[in-house]
Symmetry: C2
Subunit: 137 residues, 2 copies
Amino acid sequence: MFQLDLKSRESIYEQIINQIKELIVTGVLKEGEKLPSVRELSKILTVNPNTVQKSYRELERQGYVYTVAGLGCFAASLSDIKRDEAAVQQLVETLRSTLRQLTYLGFAAEEIRSLLNGLLREDDQKQGERKKGSDLS
Amino acid sequence: MFQLDLKSRESIYEQIINQIKELIVTGVLKEGEKLPSVRELSKILTVNPNTVQKSYRELERQGYVYTVAGLGCFAASLSDIKRDEAAVQQLVETLRSTLRQLTYLGFAAEEIRSLLNGLLREDDQKQGERKKGSDLS
DNA sequence: ACAAGTGTACCATGTGAAATAGTACAGTGT
DNA sequence: ACACTGTACTATTTCACATGGTACACTTGT
């Protein structure tokens, strides 16, 4: 269920955030379903409770979960997810930078297109085939 | 020509690396052209000489430049750039993660494809420009 | 009322990367 | 000799991350 990579550049709490996001967006965690408690998840992952709580706090800020004191943390409705424009901008900038670096390494435009098509196909599968894609060119 | 963002998550020496890579790949810095000396560039950017040297060392390791003790640091031939397979794998992983996060934010496959097409178009333009006269200030 | 579980808010500590500051040495060209 | 160049250190600071620990308020089941 959870897989942490301690060597990753991505910090632990960010990995937790992204993995929970995935569970919610893919529908594994349905609206209203309870997440593991802070202390419980910290034991499962053998990380500090504070680290898990930091993840939960951020997930709530972004609208992926809601918490009730004394009860726990629950998956929110997909429609509650906040599309933070600054976050989007950040992601686009990351995309731009990554694509550029691939170009630096000598990848031709066609290679990159083909690579992206492969990655998008993965996403489609995870999403459950909501849309069938057109070509990138 | 150099633009550092101290607030960026990307560290300074990484920003220097990427901007120099761009100058070399786009042909602004042609093969054999001399880069600013470590001390000179550090003054231009108002960063520590050690930071610049770290960038140059990494650029040499990746084959973008070659250095001659006592002479300076020079742009290498594009054919000398090493395609580090681990680095490629890292970039692909970053792409995968970024695309996934866009999906989490509710972007449809079509939106993402269109966004990527825009970014690829930017790259095509940069590749075609091939300006003359390297203006490093 | 009580206990156990929940989220939450702190504070202190350790760690590692990044960046800075400074010194020193070797090679190149004039 | 001199002024550049790259290079190699060491030491220090800063900051985010992660950990360890304590405390408090709320909810549920008993």
